[in-house]
């Protein structure tokens, strides 16, 4: 089908133009809704990608793999913008932000969306790198936007660790180019992914190996894999909640996408080391480490940030194991985690606003004082803990069963990590959502639609996945090897 | 058919009639051995009649359960007694309950008696009940283990079959049977509130078990309970007799002479058992309540050992 417009241009152009416009719109209300509108347009364009032809040129690329990410990105971006519109009004009232800040915030939001979309669409590994850095840097600023001690410290930590990650990833990128140069020749071709994947079998394996180590660690820092995770919990905890939602739901995915692309590259060269075991190792370490870290958390957003580390570990593990089942499960898990975790952050954002605290110990009996928020949180946590009928159960089912048949020990380690994390999640949710209520009982002006939409999707997916989606995921899973 | 029913009825009446006598026999023998004159042999009958005639008194808050229990206990015990072969095996209803069911029937009687002990809400009833259930909880499994041993030897849990098998020559002397016999005697003593465990004659508050449980009963209710206690004693004696001394037990379908001979031998066995009981009781001291589990526990272990031996080797 031929579309009357080029969706890629819309996907990239809308955020860029919106960022410029938002920087000059003075009214934060108009800004907020304009932000929503821009995200909606991006989402519509992203959805139209289903019908667009697959294509690749020197800079941009559309294939099955990245459509998954783009649509997810646009969708969560959109719901977050809706959530953010309600959220920031409250922040303004409570005086944590000023209208000037908000203008800045909205513009940056779109810059970040632009960066992430560009990273996903880029066919050029250099361009992808630039785009990811752009997205990272904007989130650094957003994390520090409250200008409290903690926020600045979190942003600083994020910035320093992120920059080192940037540097490592760049070195990896250079190495890939070096490996490609003798085969595909000098110039632009050496950085075009579609060209690289075609010729990668002839590349020098040793160079590719080193490159992958750097890329894995560089982008892995962004994914939040332990032990490179240190920025992640604080950045989630101290920034505005919409940003936490986007960080967990999207930015981590984008970084993971980059890792996946290079994994594909490496897997296609038979002499290079297998990338799988490295990813499995990092994934397992993340899962188990995050599981233990969950127990001593006192801040509810930091708590869920560690849960994101755990899930990124699971996804990395799944892709590391590979094979059609595990890859399918990894894709599914990633999608479901994005939806669920952002829904949780929406709910946590409202909870923190209404209770005036992020301390877990100060929030109790939520299902009593705020039934909708409380139960949404319970459902969200149940989903993220992998209880059915959430889609995460399906993906964990597939990961565990398929791994257990091939590498029992790995599966048992993974299961142990999952169980330990499960214990922490359920423990916390039972203190937060149940028990003798504390704190404010004031009604919230929360906009529930985004969370409901996310949770509805997640819970439907656990029971019924549309065959078209499945076929497409399977195809992608197949291509991931 | 009619004859079968008659034989069965005869057994039911026989046990009912003999039961107080056995109690009385043991009691007077004990007294004689202790150089006391003791009560006359027929004293239990007199007691029963007297009690039956008397007005029954009931505590204010006794419930219907308290009143129903004597009848239930009596009839359950009586049915058990009717189903154990006494002078003849293979009675018409013998297949309606096997040995396990008989044990369970006795357990049922105890269950309700123990409940009755708690019904009025006095401390003594509670003492009796709590001790009774403790003893029973060990004695009953011991009994089941004995049942296992016997059943494995005879290839059946049906008492009539067992009796017939035991009387046949291919049984021989077996270690497991010996163990089972000792265990059965120990259990019988415990279950019937006999000497090392309980003193049937005591009314010293803190040592009673059975008596404390039935402390609140009077009149006809007490009579039924006493009668049931005697019946229970006879059940155990019959059990020992038909399993370990099966000689002379007639077939229910056999001729009259065989039946009469069986009855006479049965009475003889009962007398022998009562004498043995009397002698045993005067030669032994009562155990403290919390030593009782050791005694019954030993019975349980013996029973288990007997079963184990059977499992391991057909010959033992």
């Amino acid at each position: 089908m031929i579309l009357p417009f080029d969706p890629l241009i819309v996907i990239l152009g809308t955020p860029a133009a919106a960022a410029a416009l938002l920087a000059i719109i003075p009214s934060y209300r108009v800004g907020a809704w304009f932000n929503v509108l821009a995200c909606l347009i991006t989402l519509a364009a992203a959805a139209s990608l289903f019908f667009a032809e697959r294509r690749a040129d020197d800079f941009l690329l559309i294939d099955d793999l990245n459509i998954v990410f783009i649509v997810l990105n646009a969708f969560v971006g959109f719901t977050t913008s809706v959530f953010s519109a309600g959220y920031i009004a409250h922040e303004l009232e409570s005086g944590r932000l000023t209208p000037a800040h908000l203008r800045f915030y909205h513009a940056l939001f779109q810059v970040m969306m632009f960066g992430m979309n560009l990273a996903l669409i880029a066919n050029n590994i250099g361009l992808m790198w630039v785009a990811i850095e752009l997205a990272t840097l904007t989130t650094v600023v957003m994390v520090g936007i409250y200008r409290t001690h903690e926020a600045i410290e979190a942003a600083w930590k994020y910035f320093i660790l992120g920059s080192v990650g940037i540097a490592l990833a760049l070195f990896g990128t250079i190495l890939v180019y070096m490996a490609a140069r003798p085969v595909v020749g000098e110039g632009l071709d050496g950085m075009v992914w579609t060209v690289l994947i075609k010729h990668v079998a002839a590349f020098d394996p040793a160079l590719l190996n080193v490159a992958f180590v750097f890329l894995l660690l560089g982008y892995g820092t962004k994914v939040g894999l332990a032990p490179l995770h240190a920025w992640l919990p604080d950045a989630h905890a101290e920034g505005p909640t919409p940003i936490s939602a986007v960080l967990s739901g999207l930015l981590l995915n984008v970084a993971l996408y980059a890792v996946l692309r290079f994994k594909l590259l490496l897997a296609a060269n038979t002499q290079a080391i297998a990338p799988g075991p490295l990813m499995v190792l990092l994934g397992l370490v993340s899962v188990i480490f995050a599981a233990f870290m969950l127990y001593r958390r006192r801040d509810i957003k930091r708590f869920f940030a560690y849960s994101s580390i755990e899930h990124m570990g699971i996804i990395t593990f799944a892709f590391g194991i590979g094979g059609p089942l595990a890859n399918f499960a990894g894709l599914l898990h990633m999608t479901m985690h994005s939806l669920t975790k952002s829904a949780i952050f929406y709910s946590v954002g409202h909870i923190a606003q209404v209770k005036g605290t992020q301390k877990i110990a100060d929030i109790r009996g939520l299902t009593e004082t705020h039934p909708v928020l409380g139960w949404t949180l319970v459902l969200g946590v149940a989903a993220i803990a992998g209880l059915p009928p959430s889609g995460l159960f399906m993906s964990e089912f597939l990961i565990i069963t398929s791994t257990f048949a091939r590498a029992p020990l790995l599966a048992i380690l993974l299961v142990l990590g999952l169980l330990i994390a499960f214990g922490a999640l359920l423990w916390r949710v039972s203190t937060v959502a149940f028990g003798e209520p504390t704190g404010s009982r004031a009604p919230t002006k929360a906009l529930y639609l985004p969370m409901f939409a996310h949770l509805a999707l997640v819970f439907t997916a656990g029971i019924f996945l549309p065959p078209a989606l499945v076929a497409w995921f399977q195809q992608v899973a197949q291509s991931l090897g | 058919m009619i004859r079968d029913l008659f034989v069965q009825g005869a057994q039911m009446l026989l046990v009912l009639a003999v039961a107080p006598l056995v109690t009385g026999l043991a009691r007077s023998l004990k007294a004689r051995l202790l150089r006391r004159q003791g009560p006359p042999l027929l004293q239990p009958y007199r007691d029963l009649v007297r009690l039956l005639r008397k007005e029954a008194t009931l505590a204010h808050n006794a419930s219907w359960l308290f009143r129903a229990t004597p009848y239930l206990v009596f009839s359950a015990t009586w049915i058990a007694a009717a189903l154990v072969p006494t002078f003849a095996a293979g009675m018409i209803f013998s297949w309606s309950a096997d040995l396990i069911a008989i044990v369970a029937l006795l357990g049922g009687a105890r269950f309700f008696l123990a409940l009755a002990g708690m019904d009025v809400g006095t401390a003594f009833g509670g003492i009796g009940t709590s001790r009774e259930v403790m003893i029973a909880s060990l004695a009953e499994p011991a009994l089941i283990m004995i049942v296992f041993t016997v059943a494995l030897i005879a290839g059946s849990t049906q008492l009539s079959t067992i009796t017939t098998f035991m009387a046949s020559p291919d049984v021989g002397l077996r270690v497991s049977l010996g163990l089972a016999l000792i265990a059965l005697i120990m259990v019988a003593l415990a279950e019937n509130a006999r000497m090392p465990i309980d003193n049937p004659a005591t009314h010293l508050e803190l040592t009673m078990v059975h008596e404390a449980m039935v402390l609140e009963y009077s009149g006809r209710h007490l009579a039924l309970i006493e009668l049931a206690a005697s019946l229970k004693l006879i059940v155990y004696m019959s059990l020992i007799a038909c399993v370990f001394l099966p000689w002379g037990v007639a077939s229910a379908t056999g001729d009259r002479n065989a039946l009469l001979l069986g009855a006479a031998l049965y009475l003889g066995k009962l007398v022998a058992c009562s004498i043995a009981l009397g002698i045993f009781e005067v030669t032994i001291a009562k155990l403290r309540v919390f030593r009782a589990p050791d005694f019954i526990g030993a019975a349980l272990m013996l029973g288990l050992l007997a079963t184990l031996l059977r499992f391991v080797s057909e010959g033992l």
């Binding site: 001690h149 410290e153 910035f159 540097a167 070195f171 250079i174 190495l175 000098e186 110039g187 040793a206 | -």
Partner: protein, 220 residues
């Protein structure tokens, strides 16, 4: 001709590693900044040599950027900042200078081991250049993790970037996009660091990252 080209390139790359080592054993902030400026100078020379030998005039832009920012602007700014903040005391190191130097040697050996496994048929210039670049990067990281002072950490980071540029320029024919992005990232890095330093000074009295660490969200 070729041997001469190689040797000169090696000289510069090796020089960069040497200057990195010099940075490792500095114990005064001012001196450290000066050595960093030297680092940038060597880098500029190296890049210029590459521009010349590869006949790639666009690399001169990189040279210019390096000279302008890393040799002049940043060191001067840092000197001023130190003076204004009054923190010219000694650099606090985590481990002694000696062990750090030893570790540095190890890292250089490691980068050689890793890079020399690359098949020699590949561009030998690139191969050895990469080994040196990797060494510079690792040494930069080492500076970052062994210094407690924020300014020296920033310098460590920038020396790391120098290593990146060395690698990028050594890669013959690498598209311009990379150089620009490198310069771009350094620019952004500096701006944001500046903003942060500004804010940090606004709220804390020192730029010692250690002081920042006192305000963690979850102090027990």
């Amino acid at each position: 001709m070729n041997g001469y080209v190689f040797d000169t390139a090696h000289l510069f790359a090796g020089g960069l590693v040497l200057v990195s080592f010099m940075m490792l054993y500095q114990d005064r902030l001012h001196a450290l900044i000066n050595v960093f400026a030297l680092h940038a100078v060597v880098l500029s020379l190296s890049v210029a040599w590459q521009a010349y030998t590869q006949a790639a005039p666009h690399l001169y832009v990189t040279v210019a950027i390096a000279v302008a920012f890393k040799v002049l602007v940043i060191p001067i700014a840092l000197h001023q900042m130190i003076r204004r903040l009054g923190i010219h005391r000694e650099i606090e190191t985590v481990v002694g200078i000696g062990p750090t130097m030893l570790a540095g040697m190890g890292l250089v050996a490691l980068s050689m081991m890793v890079m020399l496994r690359v098949t020699p048929e590949a561009d030998p210039l690139a191969r050895e250049d990469l080994a040196f670049a990797l060494a510079v990067i690792l040494l930069g990281l080492l500076i970052m993790v062994t210094r407690r002072n924020a300014v020296s950490q920033i310098i460590g980071f920038m020396s790391l970037e120098n290593g990146l540029i060395l690698a990028a320029t050594g890669a013959k024919g690498m598209p311009l996009v990379v150089e620009i992005s490198v310069a771009f990232s350094v620019l952004i890095a500096f701006i944001v660091i500046g903003v942060f330093l500004f804010r940090i000074r606004e709220r804390f009295d020192t730029v010692d990252v250690h002081a920042l660490d006192r305000f963690r969200g979850e102090r027990r």
